[in-house]
Symmetry: C2
Subunit: 363 residues, 2 copies
């Protein structure tokens, strides 16, 4: 039986394991955190992402390595690749960890992005503000997620404050996109080059964190969906990608603007557990294991609500028709993703009603 090594042991890893056991897969996770959501249901080594005796133990006997966080050091991924297969390819990690490379990569594929400029010095920042105009967002190039490491500049006077907050690190100024909504495209590519795509999903963030996904995104024209698939297909091919990837997009009129990519299963794809023929977790595993991809058709309209910081009453959530609760086994703490609820409904109208019921139950 194949044992898959997974870098990271959070909720994404937990849902990978839950999807993989029925396929006959075994799992070993590597995560340095004191508390790891996978711990309860799989082998976990509590060690960091540098080479160590623990890492040697982690690697021993594995069939391949994948990851469930994108902050895996690229060097580690490349070192592991000398010993065994690593999917998605480390090149995807490299691109997604550095916002400048990511934007340049999108641009090289002909995928539209917001205007952007590299910022290393105060002078760069001033020049970029002049070129791109305001409002704009100054971001660190590396390891930003959930809205951290970003400062919005609305007027010229904000340059000082922004530089004080973030200056000294490699930065990026991005033009503000007056988008109508945020969408994401999940795609998967197998080791044989087969590809499959989930429908576009509409995402709602608050304080930089995903709160709600609607699947399918309402009012998506065929043209818009085709655009998203075209972008995703280019990205998959260019990286010789294997596994699930998520591309976060802004919609502005009839155009999609790529914001960022995540080379892993993604929060905006959690609805696929109950809402699609095959979940993103199972399809990621099928892809990396060189098994045929599963169908990505939808079973019913879905909404996915993140449970952040504190948990609602479990009983009340489970009273909502066709509500599916997913708890991650984490200790509640402000701003922490503790679980999610997926709602399914026969019609968008009923979905909306159920969603209102769930929202009323959130603290």
């Amino acid at each position: 039986m194949a044992t898959i090594g997974v870098l990271g042991g959070g909720q994404l890893g937990r849902m990978l394991a839950l999807a993989g056991y029925p396929l006959g897969l075994h799992f070993r996770f590597l995560d340095p955190a004191p508390e790891a959501p996978v711990e309860q249901l799989a082998e976990r080594l509590a060690a960091g992402f540098e080479w160590s005796p623990a890492l040697e133990r982690f690697v021993r006997g594995l069939s391949l390595v994948t990851y469930e966080i994108e902050n895996v050091p690229v060097e580690l991924a490349r070192n592991l690749e000398q010993r065994l297969e690593v999917y998605p390819p480390p090149a995807a990690l490299e691109v997604s960890q550095e916002r400048l490379k990511e934007k340049q990569f999108f641009r090289s594929l002909g995928v539209p992005t917001a205007p952007f400029a590299a910022v290393d010095t105060r002078q760069d920042l001033e020049r970029a503000v002049a070129d791109i105009g305001l409002p704009a967002v100054l971001k660190t190039r590396r390891f930003g997620y959930d809205g951290k490491g970003q400062v919005v500049l609305r007027e010229a006077g904000d340059v000082d404050r922004a530089w004080e907050t973030l200056g000294g690190r490699p930065l990026l100024l991005e033009g503000f996109v007056a988008f109508e909504r945020e969408l994401s495209q999940l795609a998967v590519r197998g080791r044989d080059g087969a590809v499959a795509f989930y429908p576009l999903v509409e995402n709602h963030h608050r304080q930089g964190m995903l709160r709600l996904s609607l699947a399918p995104a309402p009012d998506v024209t065929e043209r818009l969906q085709a655009q998203a698939l075209d972008h995703a297909r280019r990205l998959l091919e260019a990286l010789d990608y294997i596994g699930v990837v998520a591309i976060e997009l802004f919609q502005q009129g009839g155009q999609l603007i790529a914001n960022e990519m995540a080379p892993r299963v993604h929060n905006s794809g959690h609805w696929t557990i109950e809402g699609a023929e095959t979940s993103q977790f199972e399809n990621h595993l099928r892809a990396v294991m060189d098994l045929p991809l599963g169908g990505t058709g939808m079973l019913a309209p879905c909404a996915m609500v993140n449970l952040i910081g504190t948990l609602p009453d479990r009983r009340a959530i489970l009273e909502v028709p066709d509500a599916h609760l997913h708890l991650y086994g984490k200790t509640p703490r402000p701003g922490r993703k503790l679980g999610h609820v997926t709602l399914r409904a026969p019609t968008p109208g009923q979905l909306h009603e159920r969603l209102e019921r769930v929202h009323a139950l959130l603290p």
Copy 2:
């Protein structure tokens, strides 16, 4: 977080755990077998069902106890009940472990059964054969499953052989029911008395083992389904039942004849993982944890095929559209249930095609 103790650590326990983790439940299993399908993904104590220091460790800190096999000693279940809640109620174990009690129980509820008579002596057997007529089946009263402990009597001359094979144990002679097909009714009852029912399923056995379930059972009239629900409801109420129960039924014309009950999640309910709004595993856990029951509506017509003895090619199975593979992590051995495949399809016609594809892949 609640920890549920489960007696037995086979595939049913494994699927209970997979369904329970998203609800935030923890599991501890007790199973004396050298190899237990739950082991990979949950805590398992390798000890038997008699009181022992291991059993003390098993019980410590549990919220409640349930079971995934019906051969749990009733005395153990009753002893455990002195210390913590045990669901389904031990009375259900007692009834289902003894075919005579089971048949008498069905009869007391007004649920039709095959004609039957207790057989303790050779004389009893002769009298029973005279009363009931032949063909008939002589069965041990206790711990028979998957066709073991049964002898068919076709003519008077078979009495000797049957007595030689089984005589000396408490037995039961059952009249042969010339049934058209085998069905099963799965039902669930919560601690608040709420009940829910899955649709009638058609089951196909070979060599005493379930091979195929079709959900819903084709050509079920409203009257037949109503009959099944009525039987199930009486049984749930009479036992003050909590959890999932399966009732195996024979259909003879427009009538349902109860064959036996299993006070646990059941092989003929595996299709509910992909085919119903809420799986039998999740609903069993919701019931015993005093959580609201989940909907039992079907998402699509399903077929469930057991993988017995040897495994088919995993890749070929996963190439069948909307095929869902469930492996139990067991070493292949003749006659052993190693996994199952659930097929879903938009129409019964397509389901039939997919089923033929899967059957062609089985050894």
